[in-house]
Symmetry: C2
Subunit: 261 residues, 2 copies
């Protein structure tokens, strides 16, 4: 079966049935994929406030009521406990399991956050003729810790993490315009050019992901990154948190192009 | 002293000192005024979710950490418990007091919400040459219950309340464009024309505020209204809630024009 062309609903049914447990990259082409964070309600207020105060690195697409397993707006009727191919379960900051289903861990106080992902704007960049180096080189996008502070909220704090894509100098404005039109998936770049300005010492040594080639005539362009809220959560070492496993995303019923509106 | 030209900081100092206890309409011309809702933390998560799911009627400008009395982004260092001229205190849905200071009622679990107000876009409409009838006639804007459902969140639910301004037919598009550019203060209209389409039976009998003249050649234009979240809160009859007294708003340090960005 060609997973790039089936509908998100069909894909999630296969995932729910345990027939797909791998990474979702490239599946259901054109549809938005999202990061997942599940927290107990007593931390969820602070986290919701954190995402609201830092919408650039933490663009929330949907939040469930406490205990509610079904999404409504991003994928009507999708079950957050079964419809991702793999999860990570942390207790007090320690990774304790990577199951393909978290139904057995479900609690009435759990709140689920879907957070937009740069996959969505990479498709739009390529559509607009802007090269995306990490895709060309089949690597994870390089990501960096910065000196850009996020606004704290309750127990959550930390500096922004950014992703970097080298852009030919004559396409930088186009890359800004294309991504600025998609604020629900990180929006416009947060910085263009000299990495030292935002506290990055060595562009060839990303803190997460993999380095990519920067050619002469290309400018490093930095976007707010969804690792920011993940780090903010992990820094707190909450008693209990569930996330997607890296690359094993939630596939929504919403097309990337719809995130422009 | 001319309160239309003093700075918001000066105005709030006079309010804090008890020298101003009346309505804030027209004070600190050009600066945004905001609605206030203060709720205990156990309801604040549901309410934050409600505002997030219904950003058109509930455009949140700032939310404090629990127990925190000082604002940061809308008015740095302003004290929510002293810097409004008059408050309303409700217990189990019953109005129990209208004090000019709520310091004595402060609790460590209280969360304050500042919500954008249509005052901000009315100034921009007039600047753009669009008449604002309720201002011309020195009346409160007419507001109506509708059949437009809001997305529920936890204990909060209800239909949208709208405000209405009659606009000459050749200025309707301009009115849409001017307000669409200000999503943090309700944004574009939610409906243009026939009131029956959104469940309003008699345009001459508003559910809140006062009726205004609709001249021949004018179209009733409806915007999402901040009474929506107030109603959602009151329907729940929370054990304890504080709001601004009607017309006694929080005056921010942010100019109306800055809410375009």
């Amino acid at each position: 079966m060609d997973y790039t062309t089936i509908s998100p609903r069909e894909l999630r049914a296969l995932i729910r049935a345990g027939e797909i447990t791998g990474q979702t990259s490239g599946m259901c082409a054109g549809y938005a994929q999202a990061n997942l964070v599940i927290l107990p309600k007593d931390l969820a207020f602070d986290f919701l406030l954190y995402t609201m105060r830092n919408p650039r690195p933490c663009p929330v697409l949907e939040v469930t009521d406490p205990g509610q397993r079904l999404f409504r707006t991003m994928a009507d009727g999708a079950d957050v406990a079964t419809d991702l191919p793999r999860y990570r379960v942390y207790e007090n900051g320690v990774l304790v399991d990577e199951p393909t289903d978290v139904s057995h861990l479900w609690r009435d106080d759990l709140v689920s956050f879907l957070i937009g992902c740069s996959f969505s704007f990479e498709a739009e960049l390529m559509e607009a003729g802007v090269p995306v180096r990490n895709i060309e080189e089949h690597r994870n996008v390089p990501m960096y810790d910065t000196n850009i502070p996020c606004a704290p909220a309750g127990v959550f704090s930390g500096n922004m993490v950014v992703s970097m894509r080298p852009i030919p100098y004559d396409l930088v404005v186009r890359a800004v315009n294309v991504t600025a039109a998609m604020p629900r998936v990180h929006g416009a770049p947060i910085h263009i050019g000299d990495p030292a300005q935002i506290g990055i010492r060595d562009i060839s040594k990303p803190d997460y992901g993999e380095a990519v080639t920067i050619n002469p005539g290309e400018v490093p362009v930095f976007w707010p990154c969804g690792v920011t809220p993940q780090n903010a959560v992990m820094r707190v070492k909450p008693p209990f948190v569930i996330t997607h496993a890296p690359g094993h995303m939630f596939v929504t019923d919403v097309k990337n192009v719809e995130l422009k509106y």
